[in-house]
């Protein structure tokens, strides 16, 4: 997987336009803290990816196929589903954990991409891609427009992009040596 392919997957699937409503905390520092922890976890998952794949008897290409399939579903959901309901704002010190880190920033679809990282260059690629993607989520939370219709269509567009990136990941896995 090239750096650009991983970056595209992360940026599209992180989908700031759909995730903003789920970040129901009042304090931007909690969003940033949750995103930072998520980047660290994705990096750790990429480090552990090779060992985990070996333990599960799953090859890297097949892990990419799995990630691609899951991301196709995630992308299609973003295309067709309405925006999620805005949860009740949580004004607590642990907001960085719930609802920022879990369930918004740390996601199983992106975790699968991290697990599928190359043994050598993959960790840096995943860390960089996760940083960019989650920074975009945090930035949109801070400054983004609050027009539901615009967010709906922008979220759907990123959903479509997720499908494209997922299919590319899928083919990369299917036709790997």
């Amino acid at each position: 997987m090239t750096v650009w392919a991983v970056l595209l997957v992360f940026a599209a699937a992180a989908n700031p336009f759909r995730r903003r409503r789920c970040l129901s905390v009042p304090d931007g520092r909690q969003v940033i803290a949750g995103a930072a922890v998520a980047v660290a976890v994705y990096g750790a998952l990429a480090v552990a990816g090779a060992s985990l794949r070996d333990a599960l008897d799953v090859s890297t290409p097949n892990m990419r196929v799995a990630a691609g399939l899951l991301l196709v579903v995630v992308g299609l959901h973003a295309v067709v589903a309405p925006l999620p309901a805005a949860p009740t704002t949580i004004d607590a010190r642990g907001g960085w954990l719930v609802p920022v880190l879990v369930p918004v920033m740390l996601r199983p679809d992106l975790a699968l991409v991290a697990f599928a990282a190359d043994r050598t260059s993959g960790v840096a690629t995943v860390a960089l891609s996760a940083s960019v993607a989650l920074a975009a989520v945090a930035a949109w939370w801070c400054v983004g427009a609050r027009t539901p219709a615009a967010e709906r269509w922008l979220g759907a567009a990123l959903g479509a992009l997720t499908v494209v990136a997922a299919v590319r990941l899928l083919l990369d896995g299917v036709f790997a040596l």
């Binding site: 008897d57 196929v65 949860p87 719930v98």
Partner: protein
């Protein structure tokens, strides 16, 4: 509905006021467990590649050779398609696979398995009774007079005799090798396409008759002939190689593309031609393409276990011939310089060998059948085995054994 979709997509759920953090984390964890559980159950099946050791390889090779010895009839033919469950032979025979198993046995003999030679010699004697000479060439004639000649039979017989030449260190058959090679040349079109059949009635190749595998078989024979008796084979071999690499699948309407293990053998042979490498960008790209197709196949095949759940989600296990052929391809492609350093190719070829080792019928398993001697050492699926199951599996294990010995 949307509520569940949002939940599974981890987009948040409108929680009742006062829902504890622990419960929200628990819900997220549940979504993770459901996601990974579903992926493991449906997509991420374990790839069971067995354990490949030199001892296991040598044992499996000896068992396959012994099977060929036990099932060889006095006239030099084998039991062709054998139903181990009923201890019956389907009663059919043809020379393509006869030549193929003969070749595999000469490969085994060349690799230091002495029992294989005597069996191969008997099969060779039988094959020679079917040789026909005409117009400056010789070929294996069909068993039913008047039928079309299969190019594959002569191609594999030529390959068998090339291995025999190594085993016997004799040049006595060189004239025959040349004649067999010339028969192949008569079936190659200017485009590089190889006719699958030759018509004794018209004295010409059958127009439009093509085979997914005969072309590669002919190519492999010519590439090896060029190394042993260099001269007239170089140009036609390269023409066929280029046709396979750039035009064959489209010209012959083959979809999906042929995962051509014979072409993989030929590419490995081309890599060993003396002088400047003939493996240019096109041929190397094709080698990679074949590697990708075979890699996909073994990654899928190694997930099959034969259990009911595996059959439902992955289908029936492949024939021994199928797993053997893809392992032959993967192992052969490691000789292509651009691919030789690829760890994944090594892993996949070892995986193929591991699958073969695990699926060979052991002495204990053979006791379940009415005639254990005919079942032991074979690759049996649904109670049946065919000589090419043993041929491809044996060739594959020999290649892997060679790779193990020369890391």
């Amino acid at each position: 509905m949307h509520r569940w979709a949002h939940f599974l997509m981890l987009e948040g759920v409108r929680w009742a006021r006062g829902t504890s953090r622990r419960r929200r984390v628990g819900a997220a964890l549940l979504a993770w467990v459901l996601t990974f559980g579903a992926m493991r159950a449906v997509v991420l099946h374990p790839e069971r590649c067995g354990t490949v050791t030199t001892d296991r390889l040598d044992g499996a090779i000896d068992e396959a050779v012994a099977w060929a010895g036990r099932t060889l009839r006095s006239d030099g033919t084998w039991i062709y398609r054998y139903n181990a469950g009923t201890d019956t032979d389907a009663g059919i025979y043809e020379l393509v696979r006869h030549s193929g198993l003969t070749m595999a046995l000469y490969q085994a003999a060349a690799a230091g398995h002495p029992d294989a030679r005597a069996i191969a010699e008997q099969a060779d004697t039988y094959a020679r009774t079917n040789l026909v000479a005409r117009d400056g060439w010789q070929a294996l004639a069909p068993l039913v007079p008047g039928e079309h000649y299969d190019i594959g039979a002569t191609s594999l017989f030529l390959n068998a005799l090339l291995y025999r030449r190594t085993v016997t260190a004799s040049t006595a058959d060189d004239a025959l090798l040349t004649d067999l090679g010339r028969f192949l040349l008569t079936n190659i079109a200017p485009s590089g396409a190889v006719a699958a059949n030759w018509d004794p009635g018209t004295g010409a190749p059958v127009v439009g008759a093509s085979s997914p595998f005969y072309t590669g078989e002919a190519l492999w024979a010519l590439t090896r002939l060029e190394r042993v008796l260099p001269g007239e084979w170089r140009e036609p071999a390269l023409r066929v190689a280029r046709y396979i690499a750039t035009a064959r699948d489209e010209a012959e309407h083959r979809f999906p593309d042929v995962a051509d293990h014979w072409a993989a053998y030929a590419l490995a042979e081309l890599a060993h031609w003396p002088g400047t490498s003939v493996l240019d960008e096109e041929l190397t790209a094709y080698a990679r393409h074949v590697g990708e197709l075979e890699s996909l196949s073994i990654r899928y095949e190694s997930q099959r276990t034969g259990s009911t759940f595996s059959r439902l989600t992955r289908g029936q296990i492949a024939l021994g011939a199928g797993v053997g052929a893809l392992t032959e391809a993967l192992a052969s492609l490691r000789s292509v310089p651009a691919l030789s350093a690829t760890d994944s190719l090594r892993d996949r070829s070892l995986c193929g060998a591991g699958v073969l080792l695990d699926r060979q019928t052991t002495a204990t398993e053979a006791e379940r059948y009415p005639n254990p001697e005919r079942a032991r050492g074979a690759w049996i699926r649904e109670g049946q085995t065919q000589i090419d199951d043993q041929q491809h599996a044996l060739s594959a294990l020999l290649l892997i054994r060679d790779l193990q010995a020369t890391p």
